[in-house]
Symmetry: C2
DNA sequence: GTGAAAGCGCTAACAT
DNA sequence: ATGTTAGCGCTTTCAC
């Protein structure tokens, strides 16, 4: 009953070989003789030895883990991206360190910290609001963006946000709507801006009116969707259709208007963005733009691993296709309005 | 323009002191003379030096990170616990490694792996289905359970699951329901079992009938709630009230029955469990049992850090209070049924 | 208050 | 095929 953890020395002693042989047996078993290998493995079993990752990493000048920096873990949107990341990182024997830019003081500072502390072999950025100064840090590990980031040429995996907005507007137009509004994401957020821009240009190219009072500012949250609903209810002249920059906001909106006695889609048509799991279970089920989040994670992880292995700081960016999902929350506008 | 990362040696040379002094300046600044300290800090700034965490950890025989083992990251339920954990771990300068037992082969094996690989100073377990053999591993780091685990006396942070179920049943009884059913979590899951047990004993103690065909097996997911709805719709003799072991299942159920033309709560009263964010935005808003998930994370992290710092493998368990949240998804049963 | 020196546990040349 | 040896970059006695 050993209370101490065995080191490679202990194994070597028990097996009657050198530490180098033990190390080799564990990393490239084919290069040691079968008999030796067996002796070593027995000794490993007997002592309960396990490689000390810290020592190994120090020696090999790597860390075996990847840091994922995101704005807010509690946001379920990121959870699926994390699942995608994990499905690649884990089999590749990389640990996944999660850092929430919210739970520290200065987010930019933390980015720099992780980039320089040598705690990870690579970094995945899910927070599009960080400053690009990081790129200049000498000796920094490879970075992959899994969202848009203005004015940076980091390798990234992203989604056709503008086209998603255009799909939503196109759908409304096809149904006969002419008064269509938009509930945006937070100002300054790159995703929000792309969707807003896509919304604007789609309206213009379809010859539909672009009214500023029909563009409501949200922040992707359900609460902000509920707030938008109250604003909509208070309007004199309401749009008959509304495109939301996130499903969450659409859900918040729907809850409020339904409780106020309005019906979706008969009184308002709505389209969301993301296709979060829940929206197919609502009544009506939400028409939305699907972003394959697991896929985003998978691609980002693959890209990063390739960069780590080849030792490059650049790589091909990846554009992931979105998909329009027609469900029950949009129909032709009410007549006589 | 340095392309290399500076080591403590570089700083020592630039500052004209020994590496020991540099190290001291950075860890206990008060023991070095003010003048020396300044020289060192200048050298640090000049070289862009940052402590190499791996080397530091090897020397100090610690890792500076904590592993969180959970069944499925994509489940938003865990996301909030993670946020709570992060809010404590980050300021305490601990990294948070997330491991998903789904993305590897054998979950138990992975637990053992993390326990023995020396990759973390402590471990937080969110997966109640792992085998308790882990406890016997010599030299293992401290573990905190943030959920129930049968027959283990690990320090834990948990929630009054049974009482939650009893609250739900009590509420139904008070509204006049006599036919109440339950949609369970996955068989074998400890949370699911506790809630089921709480449900059963509450029925009994209130003198309500316990019917096996009114206990539907689910797995916490929305899809399984939808499946339960179909089962309910197909019943000859339906319960007028249903307690769900998770909010997600309640949401899935509600979507299906509403689209089938039934109304909640007029046709069925339902109560969920968890109080996930969305349920207040549904119509009707869901009556449920609130579990303070962020709080669970915070307490678990605090407990673990205390154990790490004091070097103990035991600690006080913590029971977190739940709260009944009455909203609009339960009302008296329809008359004449 | 500061420096010299000894490792933490491991891996990878280099020898044999 | 195996052993010897020299560190990876840091912290921490132990002297001074």
């Amino acid at each position: 009953m050993d209370k101490k953890i065995a080191t490679i020395q202990d194994v070597a002693r028990v097996a009657g070989v050198s530490t180098a042989t033990v190390s080799r047996t564990l990393s490239k078993p084919t290069v040691v003789a079968a008999a030796t290998r067996e002796a070593v493995l027995n000794a490993v079993a007997e002592t309960g030895y396990r490689i000390n990752a810290t020592a190994s990493n120090l020696r090999r000048q790597r860390t075996g883990s990847v840091i994922v920096l995101l704005p807010n873990i509690a946001n379920p949107f990121f959870a699926q991206i994390l699942a995608g990341l994990s499905s690649i990182l884990t089999p590749a024997k990389y640990g996944m360190l999660i850092a929430d830019t919210q739970s520290g003081p200065d987010p930019d500072e933390r980015l720099v910290h992780y980039l320089t502390s040598g705690q990870a072999d690579g970094l995945i950025l899910l927070d599009g609001s960080l400053s690009p100064d990081a790129l200049k840090i000498p000796g920094r590990p490879p970075i992959v963006m899994a969202c848009e980031w203005m004015g940076s040429d980091l390798p990234s995996v992203r989604v056709e946000n503008g086209r998603g907005a255009a799909m939503a507007v196109g759908h409304f137009a096809q149904l006969g709507h002419r008064s269509v509004g938009h509930v945006t994401g937070p100002r300054g957020n790159v995703l929000a801006e792309s969707r807003l821009e896509g919304f604007r240009s789609a309206l213009t190219s379809l010859g539909l009116p672009l009214r500023h009072d029909w563009i409501l500012e949200g922040d992707f949250s359900m609460d902000s969707g509920a707030a938008a609903a109250n604003a909509w209810l208070a309007m004199e002249d309401r749009p008959t259709a509304l495109f939301f920059a996130s499903d969450e906001m659409a859900v918040g909106f729907m809850g409020v208007v339904q409780r106020a006695g309005y019906s979706v889609p008969e009184d308002v048509s709505i389209v969301g963005f993301d296709n979060i799991e829940i929206v197919q279970h609502l009544s009506p089920a939400l028409t939305t733009i699907r972003q394959p989040r697991t896929q985003i994670g998978i691609r980002a992880a693959e890209l990063l691993l390739r960069m780590i292995e080849t030792g490059t700081l650049t790589g091909p960016s990846d554009l992931i296709e979105i998909e329009f999902i027609r469900r029950g929350s949009a129909c032709p506008p009410p007549v006589g309005e």
